[in-house]
Amino acid sequence: MARFRPPCLAFVLWFAVCAAQQQSVTSARQTPASAPVHSATQAPQGLNALQGLKVTDIQIKSEAVEHPEWLLNSLPQKVNDPLDKYKVRESVQVLYNTGRFSEIQVEAQHTAPDAVALTFDTRENYFIGSLNSEGSTTRPTDSQLITSSKLVLGELFTDDKVKDGIQHMQRTLQESGYYKATIQPFYEWDSRNQQVTIQFVVNKGNAAHIGTIKVTGDSGLTLDRVSEITGLRTGNQVAADRITRALQKLRKHYQSEKRLEAQVVMTERSYHPENNTVDYSFDINRGPVVDVRVEGAKLRQGKIKRFVPIYEENAVDDDLLNEGARNIRDYFQSQGYFDVRVSYNQLQPANDRREVVYYIQRNERHKFVELAITGNHYFSREEIRERMSLQPSGGLLLWGTFSQFMLARDVQAIQTLYSNNGFRDAKITPQVTDNYQGKKGSLKVTVNIEEGQQTTVGTLTIEGNSAVSNDDIRTMISASEGQPYSDTMVINDQTEVTDGYFNRGFPQMRFEYQTTPEPQDPHKVDITYKITEGPQIYVDKVLYSGLHYTKGFVVQREMKIQPNEPLSQQQMLDSQRRLYDLGIFNEVNMAVQNPDGDATHKNVNFQLAEAKRYTFNYGVGLEVQTGQPTGTTNPQGKTGISPRVSFDITRLNFRGRDHTVTLKTRYGNLEKLGLIGYDAPRWFDFEHLSLNLTAFYEQTNDVRTFTAKRLEGSAEIKQEIDRATTLLYRLIYRRVSTSSLVIDPNLVPLFSQPVRVGMPDFSYLRDTRDNPIESRKGSFTSFDIGVAAGAFGSEPSFTRLVAQNSTYYQFHKRRWVFARSTRIGVEEPFGSTSAAIAAPGPGAPPPTSFIPLPERFLAGGSTTHRGFGINQAGPRDLTTGFPLGGEALFINNLEVRTPPLPFPWVGNNLSAVLFHDMGNVFTTPIEMVHNLFRYTQQDRSACLSPTTTVCNFDYVSHAVGAGIRYRTPVGPVSLDVGYNLNPPAFPVTAPTDGTLPRADVLRRFNIFFNIGQTF
């Protein structure tokens, strides 16, 4: 090849690249024009003069360099080598490339006539370590201003960047009317860590006001009317969203007039500093009235607006009208008109009017009766159906769900499924058969699948890796010899390996792959993954800022990223998540300091914003269910609503830690509560240990029999053994008294005297449910045992044991759920009661051991047994008819939960349950054991006698029922109706309302409204 040999360019480059471009270069010469003058010898100076001397030492002078060895190792000039000026220059370049220094000079000191020690004297760069603003508490807030500055944590600090940042902030302030705002930056330099804290002090000044408003164009509105619609008036304070809202209101106004092409823009905004006002100009062109109508079929106006996007886009063009036609077609196809034809035309009946007419030819209505899938061997029909949106008719789908668009989408989804699993030659052919089986309008869709031969991975070769072993890489990837091959798999492997390397501190890692079909078997592909690791980056220091109240160690112990470890993006994210999880920070911003530098060790910067320490919550709630309190006249309670108000104060960041103090108050018909709690996670720095102290006073009225006043203090240690298993150790002290008793006063001494219960308690919890709020699989087991005894300061002595086991199973394509739960509780008094209890009154017989009323088991309601109203199960006071609770409990729930029901309007959010609840509260554990299989109440006729003194409630009550669940972000909202198959009868020998003695049977129907599943 003939080479271009331009002497002109040599001149251009060598002598004056810029200047010579103006000259005629053709005549220039590269070589010297005359003999060199070397009579006056000029010895080299500076570094050039030291060439060849022995380098005895190399130092880096910088306050910020704590580990010079990290830098010295990378310098081309080495100690004990002869000084090479080219290597020294490269060394300066290497140091500069680290990004840590803005200036470097080389110092030399003769340590001998032929030896020299070098020092690289540096001037450090500074990086943005923290960004704060003060002085703007209202919109735009300090936080918004910092965001608008576009300054980035960790990046190189320069004056120009800060100036630009201030300009951006001022623009944001001006949009909110603060044209006279001043912003002053203050700096706090941290030379050891090479970072600077920037504090912007904002003085917003007075907000500007709206001056004049001008409207141009064809608005069809007077200026006053524009002002009325937009709410913009002279003298109003300028605000960022005021103009946006004004434009929206104008557009809405024109939309209400069907002027869908109205153009409303703000053309000018001019500020007048002399009177601090802003004048606005709007250009409005209202455009014609656009009517959209449909011919050939009926379509409600609401649907037209939904399907034709010109209403949303405020524009009328062919693209939008075509999209409307497609939407209308899909709608009619989903209604069974699979052959529907939709077209449109635009008319102009008058100058100011435009008409869009959609012509709909519905044709024959079809019924999508069958979906056949043939030729599939590798995937089951169910696996394929999961990816399809076509639905044959059945159930509530009268016509089925079908459209050509949906069919095409489903075919593509099946194609992707096969392709992703190595069937690169798979062919999916849909076939639509009309008048299927001779039935007019019946439609059958057949999806024919030709799978072809599966392509598998022949050999897998991994090259270029040294820091990560082949075995480790193989754990990251899906590809392996003999597995199905797909391009998607390779792309996923690329992502996984790249992420894996990134998380090991290789930010410049590159991943390339090569796939080669084997010559002898084209359905086998050999894969080569080629990895270029690049340099490994480590963490120098982990820096954090923004702590005012929080102790440093609280932050440090959450840091998964540690000094001298590889710089891992995942560990940074984990640290950020853990800091957020503490609940004491509003913002956790993080960045790698000096992101563009080549330094092998980099600082990681966390800027934290502490949350407000005090939060106040207040609320109003309603509880709707049967068994609501009715005073003393109705032992079964009533179906009704219990209002409730609540007020909570939470103090976060208590003592500079992630400890929380909470004050909770409730006031309602069922409950009055005042609670103080102290929560200390990571007790004694053990990650899986937490301490909770609680003291509360509660007055509950949810048992119809009495009002309980409970003063309780408890200390609880929670130990998380693993993700599923938790142990709770509690010590509980409570003093419970009852009042407003409606039961036989003779029982007062026995059950209702104020008692102090001291009880150590131990719980074992194992939860493997997929979702505790709406479980579909897994199990939940709890075991709780407590002993109240004099040794613990308790007046009554008894043991209490409650065990629960719930399991969840998916069936029928994993769409349905069968859930079951069993709860057993027993209480056993022992020893004797204290003297105070033992002498309830003069002449009273000394009671032996007993369990006080509030400590007894109660059941019934939406979370236990839906055959009873709330707490209505079990033994009752025969005089008044009110429930007394018992010493044993058995509840078993079975529930079938349906998949989402295909109802219109509710999407996939509505489902149903069918349930069977059985169980009861028993007098004693022995009675429970003896009567666990008893279906009917013993001697029920006696219970139906108004004057009887004996009535036995020890049997198992059954209830069946159904409910619906509506999925919400806070869990399913439940409405259940339970029907008690064998409700108990009971006498009321002395009704509290003074009526004649009677016998009652508990109501069979009970309704419950709740949030969350029953179990």
Binding site: L13, V25, Q105
Partner: protein, 225 residues
């Protein structure tokens, strides 16, 4: 004698003990650092090639040389695979020989070394400089040569409008167009490349972050500790 010995000793101690700044940054082009020693060496090379005595170098010469180093650095940064552009050893030797042939007194090794010493340079300095220069020339060649087209009409226009009037003015007879066509084509091609290079350099300078650290006497307003 004793005094002289003491002075020598004092000087020796001073030489051994005091650290001197021997190099510093004078410019940064994007992220490429230019050091004072490079600038000093470039001035010496330029004066050697221009045959000018080094003691005539002025501060303005240094500034001009720095500007050229900056431009060279900008071009250097455009070379992605520099090994493709590296000259062959023989090519480099030929170039060196050509330079020595044109420098009076440089034909002998002794004379050549004397010239280099006179400018405070080494053979390696000159070779490194030539390598860099040749790399850049190749880069420009590769980038622009295929883009410049010289058609027949442009050659004719140059011949009739420039060459013939120029020769007439000198009283010389104009050679036939076909005889000088190749030479005119080369001239026009070089002009075209020059124009493109000029535009490219403007673009590179406009996009680059160039920081000169040679003091212009102005005040610094940096917010730095």
């Amino acid at each position: 004698m004793r005094l002289r010995f003491q002075l020598v000793l004092l000087l020796a101690v001073a030489t051994v003990s005091s650290a001197q700044v021997v190099d510093r940054m004078v410019a940064v082009v994007n992220k490429r650092v230019i050091l004072e020693s490079e600038l000093d060496q470039a001035v010496r090379l330029e004066f050697l090639m221009a045959g000018k005595p080094l003691d005539k170098a002025t501060p303005a010469d240094r500034i001009a040389t720095l500007d050229r180093l900056i431009d060279r650095s900008l071009l250097d940064q455009q070379t992605v695979r520099s090994e493709m552009l590296d000259p062959e050893p023989q090519e480099l030797a030929d170039k060196m020989a050509e330079i020595r042939r044109q420098l009076p007194g440089a034909q002998t090794d002794e004379g050549w070394q004397k010239i280099l010493n006179g400018y405070g340079l080494t053979q390696q300095d000159l070779e490194e400089n030539l390598k860099s220069q040749m790399r850049i020339l190749r880069l420009i060649d590769m980038r622009f040569r295929g883009l410049v087209r010289v058609d027949r009409s442009a050659i004719e226009t140059y011949y009739h409008d420039k060459l013939v009037p120029q020769l007439k003015a000198q009283g010389a007879a104009a050679p036939p167009l076909d005889d000088v066509s190749p030479k005119i084509e080369q001239i026009l091609m070089e002009q075209g490349i020059d124009d493109m290079l000029a535009r490219w350099m403007d673009t590179l300078r406009g996009q680059a972050h160039i920081e000169k650290m040679i003091s212009d006497g102005g005040e610094s307003h940096e917010a730095r500790p």
